[in-house]
């Protein structure tokens, strides 16, 4: 097995998993103009749901998605309705605070419910792996990547092949004009946030199957996701996917060829350099709207 080859392959596969977590964040930014600090926590909520289903009722995590995705959809719906919709001015700034507070409440409740012990999601496909040129690729990574492609593909179709998608994209590009042509921006916002949160359930399950976690893992996760969506271009779904791959591959490769200590730093440098050369990110639209 070649070490660099291995880390590139695994980086790409786990990049897909991160994309699933980041897409929700970038979508809700694009449509609602909010930075959802609670996204990291929502990933963990999704992970805990899958864990609970598997641990207490022995429901396979993949099958469990049929329950956890709708559950997180509803949670997202509720969060938007209760906390984001009332925000009128300073949406970006206020959303940081509101969603952080929401994340704290969820962290506290999960801590009370599940305790602080680290848990991990188990399934036969988590530990088993297939041999590819001497590198064993775990099924969970292949599965996660496939799931990411399927779900992101579904979102793509929703965005580009439906009337709802057209309205959503219109809202992203010009919110005021969208109102004037009769788009119910509020309804679009709520549904987008709910869909984004629902997707996060899948990201959470995969995160939980590839890492051990507890409720405190939130802050680290959200900082990574934020870097991903800004590198990809905020609001851009394809950008989130590509940036996830760049992040995971660059971190993994720097870790093996140099040292893990500097790998995250290298990614930060890449992000900052890209931002300086191209402030809208790799795939972001140039800032048409006023800031």
């Amino acid at each position: 097995m070649d070490l660099v080859f291995g880390s590139v392959v695994l980086g790409i596969l786990s990049g897909g998993i991160y994309a699933l977590m980041a897409v929700g964040l970038t979508l809700s930014f694009g449509v609602l103009e909010v930075i959802n600090i609670a996204q990291g926590m929502l990933v963990l909520v999704g992970a805990y749901f899958s864990f609970a289903l598997e641990h207490y009722w022995h429901i396979d995590p993949l099958v469990g998605l049929l329950v956890t995705i709708p559950a997180l959809f509803l949670i997202g719906y509720g969060i938007e309705w209760a906390f984001l919709r009332p925000l009128r001015q300073d949406r970006v700034a206020l959303s940081i605070l509101v969603t952080y507070a929401v994340a704290l409440v969820m962290e506290g409740l999960i801590g009370l419910w599940f305790g602080d012990n680290f848990v991990a999601i188990h399934a036969w496909y988590v530990d088993a792996a297939v041999d590819v040129f001497g590198l064993y690729i775990p099924y969970i990574y292949i599965l996660g990547f496939a799931l990411a492609i399927v779900l992101l593909g579904a979102v793509y179709l929703l965005l580009y092949r439906t009337k709802f998608g057209a309205a959503l994209r219109a809202t992203v590009q010009n919110r005021d004009a969208a109102v004037l042509i009769g788009i119910d921006v509020q309804r679009i916002s709520t549904l987008t946030f709910a869909i984004a949160t629902g997707l996060t359930a899948a990201g959470g399950m995969l995160f939980g199957a590839t890492n051990a976690f507890n409720a405190n893992s939130m802050l680290d996760l959200i900082s990574r996701l934020l870097m991903i969506i800004i590198l990809g271009g905020m609001g851009s779904m394809g950008g989130a996917l590509i940036a996830s791959l760049i992040m995971l591959v660059s971190v993994d490769v720097v870790s093996v060829v140099w040292t893990p200590n500097w790998s995250t730093f290298a990614f930060f440098v890449i992000t900052v350099v890209v931002m300086v050369l191209r402030p809208q990110g790799l795939f972001g639209a140039p800032p048409a709207r006023k800031v």
Partner: protein, 242 residues
């Protein structure tokens, strides 16, 4: 009553303060009415009140005799009023055709939408010529025409045009205003707000002068144009600026 739109004693504003302070205005069907006035007079706010983006604190707005001042933008759109806002209002990342189709967002009948699209494309050739291009790649004047085209997708009775000349090169202004006159001839009522007062009034039937949230003068466009006080205050200076 024969007036298509009646605004009576409207007070409206943001965050507790009023910008409109007792506006009265009636529009006759099939005419072009142009509102002029200094910055902050409340011209655009009148537009927002009519299109339902802003609800008046006091007063009434009637459309074809029906109260509409409590309706949502969507309901007002369905009633037959369309606004073309002053800033660029196309969705730059979507194609011209997608943009125009979105003008009929509130319609569920697909066949009707296709039919309207065909009509509008005929009226505005650019819609057909650049159908698959991103709207953001069009020039300012072209974008304005596409916005007009989009606004006609619902076959509106009343079109609100908020400063269509803004940001456009002088040489294409004639084309834009000509298009507006054609729309009016097709039987649509038009309410126009124009910073370029002379140009706006020249293409209009009626002129309305606003100041400090109230209507100061209301009469035939030619009369307003030739009114000395108004000329000094709002026309001369602005024409030179442009």
């Amino acid at each position: 009553m024969s007036d298509i739109l009646e605004i009576q004693g409207v007070f409206a504003g943001y965050g507790g303060g009023d910008i409109l302070r007792g506006v009265n205005l009636n529009l006759e069907p099939g005419t072009i009415t142009c509102i002029v006035g200094p910055n902050g007079a409340g011209k655009s706010t009148v537009m927002r009140v009519v299109s339902g983006v802003l609800h008046p604190r006091r007063g009434e707005v009637r459309f074809n005799g029906e109260r509409i001042d409590h309706l949502s933008p969507r309901q007002i759109l369905q009633a037959g009023i369309v606004q073309v806002p002053q800033n660029r209002s196309l969705f730059p990342g979507m194609t011209v055709e997608e943009n125009v189709r979105l003008g009929a967002y509130t319609l569920r009948d697909r066949a009707l939408v296709d039919r309207r699209l065909a009509e509008v494309s005929e009226q505005f050739p650019i819609v057909k010529e650049r159908a698959k291009d991103k709207a953001g790649s069009l020039s300012g004047g072209q974008q304005k025409l596409v916005e007009f085209a989009r606004s006609l997708m619902l076959d509106p009775k009343l079109v609100l045009l908020d400063e269509p000349s803004m940001g456009l090169e002088p040489r294409i202004l004639g084309h834009v205003f000509g298009t507006m006159v054609e729309m009016s001839k097709a039987g649509r009522t038009i309410l126009l707000v124009e910073q370029n007062a002379r140009k706006g009034l020249e293409s209009s039937d009626r002129g309305v002068v606003m100041e400090s949230g109230r209507v100061l003068l209301d009469g035939p466009a030619q009369g307003v144009l030739s009114d000395e006080r108004i000329g000094d205050l709002y026309l001369g200076g602005h024409v030179q600026q442009h």
